[in-house]
């Protein structure tokens, strides 16, 4: 038995997972229309490589990755691209994004599929293929997986190197990973061995919460069948035990240092569905064109569906047969998910669950009362923050103090809001404060750049003036010198022509400006990881709504 460690806090919300695990995963029918966004991953959106009117095959590249943190997008089925335009998508901002509309031809005909044995391919090639197959983290972060698959070498503990498969699935209601592990354990385990070899990891741990005994049994069997030395570890069910840093702590006892990545301590963590997709991509040549999604909540037939990316969510919800009192929908789980602006938005790689909501299941919280500093939030905070203090700072817009109290270590799991007896939307305040701080730091950066530009311009004007004067003086001198017998060689060092001198001065000025800028750089936005950058983009988008909320006092509105 492996010694398990604890992370601080956590909550035990009702799981509500049983209803959606009664039926095996079934294939969602081919919809009449697919809407495929070009931005389904963290980082840069994919660049369209098809045109309206093109006939495409299932799995054909329609958007290619642009830049380091990016991923590819593929046609989910065969058919015709009819429109490429801005469409509403499931994004907290509610802002539309570039999408390709595909009308299926009904044949579901595959593009060229190249099945390979990963053992015959160099790691660099594997990473490239995963990138071109659009493999991103399916746990919700949708971070491009290829970037996370560099060998675990640059960490102090070179001996170990641990690959962790995240099958915790701690959010209530969601069961897509559970069902995937029950039904497709072999693929997950083979994928894990592939990723292990790419990472050059010594051990593989598969963490699954103890509320999924069937999945645990299936994974045990698959590991035994594969004859692999992997360890399937049953971890206690506690939210947010599926958070990467929390799961790493539980399984290894290691604490990912604040602001660092798991790789810095020789650990890498992948969601089980991501591992499965990576395996399909290499071993079967199938890019990521579908995923398993849970449809549950206020529905008659909750279950899990293997659905094509781009399927309008309304069609998936209809499969669950929502009850008449359904009044809204949540994408993701009830702790960290987002309300859907409309059910016409398409399924994306990040969509792990769609919950039909009704008052009886998700009653509106009572009006917020003032904080009484009962510290329940601090008792449950997995980041070991003091949410009641952070709330105070965020509410009073004292952002400097909020940062000093480690606001950016908040993982926005919502445990604090969940337990607050005053029903204060704490995590929403933290999202607001974070985005405010990021915006201010960006503004500051822009101002710094503008000042740099201005200073350089001043310097350039000054230099040009001086150079002009020097040239004039030299000319005059030369003219005077020309009169007597022989003009002496111009007494200027050939290595220091006016041009090079000026260049050196420019260089010096730039260096100086850089030094100045470095000296006053804001603390928390240095070295943002790509994941954080993606997070910024997402959170930035929520700002408008939060601003509005922040305007109102915490105390309930006056009657």
């Amino acid at each position: 038995m492996r010694t398990l460690y604890k992370f601080h806090g956590g909550v035990h919300p009702p799981g509500n997972k049983t209803p959606s695990t009664q039926q095996p995963i079934s294939a969602a029918p081919l919809p009449a229309k697919l809407i495929v966004p070009f931005r389904q991953h963290a980082g840069e959106a994919a660049k369209p490589v098809v045109q309206v009117g093109d006939h495409v095959l299932k799995g054909q590249l329609i958007g290619e990755p642009v830049g380091f943190v990016s991923s590819a997008v593929h046609a989910p089925t065969s058919g015709t691209i009819t429109v490429i335009d801005m469409q509403p998508v499931a994004h907290p901002s509610g802002l539309p994004d570039l999408c390709a509309t595909l009308i299926p031809d009904g044949k579901d005909e595959w593009f060229l599929r190249e099945a390979s044995d990963y053992r015959t391919l160099p790691a660099e090639e594997l990473r490239h293929r995963l990138r071109m197959a659009g493999i991103v983290g399916l746990g919700g972060a949708v971070f491009p997986s290829d970037i996370k698959l560099r060998p675990l070498r640059n960490h102090p503990n070179k001996e170990i190197g641990t690959l962790i498969l995240n099958g915790a699935e701690c959010e209530p209601w969601i069961t897509c990973d559970d069902m995937l592990m029950r039904e497709r354990a072999a693929g997950i385990v083979q994928g894990a061995e592939m990723l292990r070899s790419m990472l050059e990891a010594k051990e593989v741990l598969i963490g699954i919460e103890d509320n999924k005994p069937e999945a645990i049994a299936a994974m045990h069997r698959a590991v035994a069948d594969g004859g692999l030395p992997f360890e399937v570890v049953t971890v206690p069910t506690v939210y947010p035990g599926g958070g990467a840093k929390q799961l790493i702590r539980v399984l290894t006892g290691l604490e990912v240092p604040s602001g660092k990545l798991p790789t810095d301590i020789g650990v890498q963590c992948f969601n089980v569905a991501t591992v499965y997709s990576a395996w399909r991509a290499i071993a079967h040549g199938e890019p990521l064109v579908s995923r398993v999604v849970t449809v549950t909540g206020n529905v008659r037939r909750p279950g899990n569906y293997e659905a094509l990316i781009g399927t309008p969510l309304s069609e998936l919800i209809a499969l669950g047969e929502p009850l008449p009192d359904t009044d809204s929908h949540i994408m993701g789980g009830p702790m960290m998910g987002m309300p859907l602006p409309s059910t016409s938005v398409p399924l994306v790689k990040a969509s792990n669950c769609i919950i039909a909501a009704a008052k009886k299941l998700f009653p509106a919280p009572p009006p917020a009362l003032p904080c009484i500093r009962c510290t329940r939030c601090a008792q449950v905070c997995p980041a070991e923050l003091q949410p009641m203090d952070l709330f105070w700072f965020a509410q009073s817009k004292n952002f400097g103090q909020a940062q000093a109290f480690s606001l950016f270590d908040c993982i926005e799991c919502g445990a604090c809001s969940y337990v607050c007896p005053s029903h204060i939307p704490l995590v929403q305040y933290f999202r607001f404060a974070k985005s405010e701080i990021r915006m201010r730091e960006q503004d500051k950066l822009a101002a710094d750049r503008a000042r740099e530009r201005h200073e350089y311009r001043e310097f350039r004007i000054e230099r040009e003036k001086r150079e002009k004067a020097e040239r004039l003086a030299a000319k005059e001198k030369a003219a005077q010198a020309a009169k007597p017998v022989e003009p002496p060689a111009v007494a200027i060092n050939p290595d220091a022509t006016p041009e090079t001198t000026a260049q050196m001065k420019i260089q010096a000025a730039i260096e100086h400006a850089k030094e100045q800028a470095a000296a006053i750089k804001p603390k928390n936005t240095e070295n943002l990881s790509a994941e954080q950058l993606a997070e910024i983009a997402e959170i930035e988008a929520r700002r408008a709504r939060m601003r509005e909320m922040a305007k109102s006092d915490v105390e309930p509105p006056k009657e």
Binding site: E255, P257, I330, P370, I372, C374, D389, P425, E555, E559
Partner: protein
């Protein structure tokens, strides 16, 4: 319609429920109070409750805040109850009314209402009363079986509301100084502790009757810990510090310093440990801070009792430590996840 942002679910706990459970935990102590001292305390509690609700509603109205949700949070009621339990039950009706009104109006609402008051409102009320009206604040009832005369409930009511005693009965015949007060007075007369304790007002550990009420508060307090409404830190540190200080003095000079158990079961020690110092609004939020805060209060309580001008010290110790809370919290911030081992900064 689900909320506009996650999480969409929450625990059903409310502030009202927390306050209600604390009041529930007071019941064993109150029951024993009634058993040993008669039902007059219930009159105080009723008066305090009415005053608390009335002043709370008035202040909410004045401050332009919604009345209903705040009135239902039970926090004003709890303040009233705690004050009622801290003052003599036979005190004239206006004493508890003035005290409670001061708690709610000044100590609570003038500082910003629920969640914003830096000082424990009930203890502010107590401090105001003991400083302003010292005489009625000494009219403690004699426990059953000790006084020469015992007033009936009706006669008690008459005294509380119109101040008239039955003919031939003097106030001295029905009231007495508290065990802590008596001890102090007699120690000043240079009587040894042993001799003082032979007086009939003393029971097994401390005062007759009052020690039993303390047991009641202890039981209620343990329930609060079991129900996770309070953490163990404050009661343990407070009672521990009180015990340790009293124990040291007692060991050094048992003739002049009473046992630590006497201090535990006298005055407001148990009430303070579990119900007053544990007020989340006016106490520290960090666990380490709670230990420091409560240990300081325990030490101060002992010092005031043994060397100060007042018989009991819990109220002033609480208020003095309330002042230190922001500083204590600032210096006891726990390390954040990821900044403990190998984390930068």
């Amino acid at each position: 319609m689900a909320a506009f942002f996650s999480p969409f679910i929450s625990k059903p706990d409310t502030v009202a429920q927390i306050m209600f459970r604390v009041m529930l935990a007071l019941l064993p102590g109150i029951a024993l109070y009634v058993w040993y001292f008669g039902p007059a305390i219930l009159v105080s509690i009723a008066l305090a409750s009415i005053t608390a609700l009335a002043t709370e509603a008035a202040m909410l109205k004045l401050r332009d805040r919604p009345v209903a949700p705040f009135l239902k949070d039970n926090s004003a009621l709890l303040t009233g109850w705690l004050l009622a339990l801290s003052i003599p039950p036979l005190a004239p009706w206006w004493l508890i009314v003035v005290g409670t009104a001061f708690c709610i109006v000044v100590a609570k609402h003038l500082y910003g209402g629920l969640g914003n008051n830096p000082f424990n409102p009930a203890m502010i009320g107590f401090a105001v009363l003991i400083v302003s009206f010292p005489v009625p604040m000494t009219h403690w009832l004699t426990p059953h079986g000790l006084g020469q005369i015992e007033l009936s409930f009706l006669e008690q009511l008459r005294y509380i509301f119109i101040g008239s005693l039955p003919p031939g009965v003097t106030l001295d015949a029905i009231t007495m100084a508290t065990p802590l007060d008596t001890l102090k007075t007699h120690l000043h007369l240079d009587e040894p502790v042993k001799q003082i304790f032979d007086m009939p007002i003393y029971g097994r550990l401390a005062g007759q009757g009052s020690e039993m009420v303390s047991w009641g508060f202890l039981a209620g307090g343990l329930y609060l810990i079991a129900a996770r409404i309070i953490s163990w830190h404050i009661p343990v540190a407070y009672l521990g510090a009180l015990f340790a200080t009293a124990g040291l003095f007692h060991l050094a000079d048992p003739a002049h310093y009473v046992t630590p158990l006497f201090h535990w079961f006298s005055g407001a020690a148990m009430l303070g440990a579990f119900f007053i110092l544990t007020d989340p609004v006016t106490g520290p939020t960090t666990n380490k801070g709670k230990l420091i805060f409560a240990a300081g209060a325990g030490l101060l309580t002992y010092l005031i009792r043994a060397f100060g001008g007042f018989p009991d010290g819990t109220a002033f110790a609480t208020l003095l430590m309330n002042i230190c809370v922001p500083l204590i919290v600032l210096y006891t911030q726990p390390k954040v996840f990821g900044k403990k081992s190998g984390g930068e900064r």
